[in-house]
């Protein structure tokens, strides 16, 4: 795998994780306010742009690598999103949830490797 491919995989993963966090923030706010406010619109737009970047990068990578090769990286998103949701969004994260997320990630990697 070239450095470029690795770099694109990382960019795709980071933009996907960031998009999820921003979306969660925007949607959680709608339970308190309505949809017509500038902050909500800009957050949703920003996360859709990030997801689109991640989507096309993945599509480009799929043309060069097997899905089974790229999938472990998607598995890592479970760990990253769970940790970042706890750190950035201050969601409650107990040992059980953390271990669960870790097992899911390891499981996804194993499924893709074999």
């Amino acid at each position: 795998m070239s450095f470029l491919a690795f770099f694109l995989i990382v960019v795709s993963l980071v933009s996907f994780v960031a998009a999820q966090l921003i979306l969660k923030q925007a949607m959680a706010a709608t339970t308190r306010t309505d949809f017509r406010n500038a902050q909500f619109v800009s957050k949703v737009t920003g996360s859709i742009i990030l997801m689109t970047i991640s989507f096309f990068l993945t599509l480009g990578l799929l043309q060069r690598f097997d899905l089974s090769y790229l999938y472990p990286f998607q598995g890592l998103s479970v760990i990253f999103i769970t940790l970042m949701a706890a750190l950035v969004l201050k969601e409650k994260l107990n040992t059980r949830l953390a271990v669960g997320a870790l097992l899911i990630s390891v499981g996804i990697v194993l499924v893709s490797l074999s």
Binding site: L62, T82, A85, K92, L97, L103, V106
Partner: protein, 134 residues
């Protein structure tokens, strides 16, 4: 957390719908991207040439549908619970290939599937308690 709607508006049902759409779209995307693959072109690194495949467009429609369900899920369920649960799709894809396409699943892959199931059970267990508190 405010009261959750029931019926079609139930966030857990929407989570399941979102997962189903992602499952089908992943398979369509891989087939579509392979169909029109042209790795000689530098542009293909961006993936935009994948748009030449109708399968990719069907996948995009499903992704939009799953996205709308997912937005709804995010309104009600914490990300630390909703996201790990949404990855049930990662074992549904190989299981789908095994059941419908007759592909073989190696012992190592079965171990991976078992790990994901245990992880999902750990994440899903507290949900019953959260629902009780509401």
């Amino acid at each position: 957390m405010q009261n959750r709607p029931s019926g079609f508006g139930n966030p857990w049902l929407q989570l399941a719908l979102s997962v189903a759409c992602v499952l089908v779209s992943e398979l369509l995307l891989k087939r579509g991207a392979t169909e029109v693959a042209n790795t000689d072109s530098a542009w293909s690194w961006t993936g935009v040439n994948g748009l030449a495949s109708p399968l990719v467009w069907w996948a995009i429609l499903l992704i939009i549908a799953s996205f709308i369900s997912w937005l709804y899920v995010l309104r009600y369920i914490p990300l630390t619970i909703a996201f790990p649960l949404s990855r049930v799709v990662d074992i549904l894809v190989p299981l789908g290939c095994w059941i419908f396409l007759g592909e073989l699943i190696s012992p190592l892959r079965w171990c991976g599937i078992a790990l994901v199931v245990v992880g999902l059970a750990l994440v899903a267990k507290p949900i019953a308690q959260i629902e009780e508190r509401l």
